[in-house]
């Protein structure tokens, strides 16, 4: 995925744990973990809004684009 989520970096900068963020944002730790490890397919604007508000940052601080071979939406390894 060419879009990289830099949640771990922002969390370190804010000295905040994933559990605390999950509690503040109202998203489960499992879902935040999916987001942090880059397995997520998409992020809702509402989630992004809550993350930016709680972490006091901009969407650009959380997301980065890295050009490279990206996987397609159809390619999800299922039949």
């Amino acid at each position: 995925m060419p879009i990289r989520v830099q949640l771990d970096r922002v969390l370190v900068e804010r000295r905040m744990s994933l559990t605390e963020l999950a509690d503040r944002v109202g998203v489960t730790v499992a879902n935040l973990s999916i987001l942090k490890t880059g397995k997520a397919r998409a992020v809702r604007f509402s989630t992004l809004d809550a993350l930016c508000r709680e972490l006091d940052c901009q969407p650009g601080d959380l997301l980065a684009h890295e050009p490279g071979p990206g996987d397609t939406i159809e390619d999800d390894g299922e039949a």
């Binding site: 503040r24 944002v25 109202g26 998203v27 879902n31 935040l32 999916i34 987001l35 397995k39 997520a40 397919r41 998409a42 992020v43 809702r44 509402s46 989630t47 809550a50 508000r53 709680e54 939406i73 159809e74 999800d76 299922e78 039949a79």
Partner: protein, 201 residues
């Protein structure tokens, strides 16, 4: 802080279907149409299992029982025909019947598993795509087998008594199989969308 959830009057697995009384009935979940279907399928599955088992025992018995001076009558619209009952003929008949009921038992087994996922409110699983394809394939083999067996009986065993099978009689089974395969593709797309939804945070 909690994210606001979109207003949704129906819970997951409680899609409403209008019935004749005007009140909505549940299509998914416990106590729904699918759970009633599950009971019907369970009963049919047990019956088919018993029939297939008995037929299988008869196939085994047919290898050993003596068949001297036993005749069968193949009857059709234009009359009947007496045939000596040979062991090959008996095994063919019993084997064909076992395969027929066994095939439908396999179809029901897959259907029951699909219905089970439906009653749990989560039918769009990759496993259901595989099950639907299996159903389509089994249906194709069973209906094709019936067509071939009927053609064999009409041409070889009772020529002139039974009408030979035409390709027109294969149309309905072919359509049924096609519908099942199309449904499998619909479920594949559903499973993909579900996966997408799961990975949308």
């Amino acid at each position: 802080m909690r994210l606001p959830l979109p207003p949704n009057p129906l819970k997951r697995g409680e899609a409403s279907v209008p019935n004749w009384l005007g009140a909505p009935i549940k299509a998914l979940g416990p106590g729904s149409v699918s759970s009633v279907l599950k009971v019907v399928l369970d009963v049919a599955y047990i019956l088919l299992w018993l029939i297939t088992g008995i037929l299988l025992l008869l196939v085994i018995a047919a290898i050993f029982i003596p068949l001297d001076n036993v005749n069968i009558t193949v009857s059709g619209d234009s009359g009947g025909k007496q045939l000596p009952l040979t062991r090959t003929l008996l095994l063919f008949g019993l084997g064909a019947a076992t395969a027929y009921f066994g095939g439908f038992m396999l179809i029901l087994r897959s259907l029951r598993r699909i219905i089970r996922t439906l009653t749990m409110g989560d039918p769009f699983q990759p496993d259901n795509v595989r099950r639907l394809r299996q159903i389509g394939l089994t249906l194709a083999v069973v209906t094709g087998g019936v067509w071939v067996a009927q053609g064999f009986v009409a041409k070889r065993l009772a020529p002139g008594v039974m009408d030979p099978q035409g390709f027109g009689e294969l149309l309905t089974p072919i359509f049924s199989v096609l519908i099942v395969f199309v449904l499998a593709e619909v479920f594949r797309e559903g499973a993909r969308l579900r996966r997408e939804s799961e990975l949308t945070i």
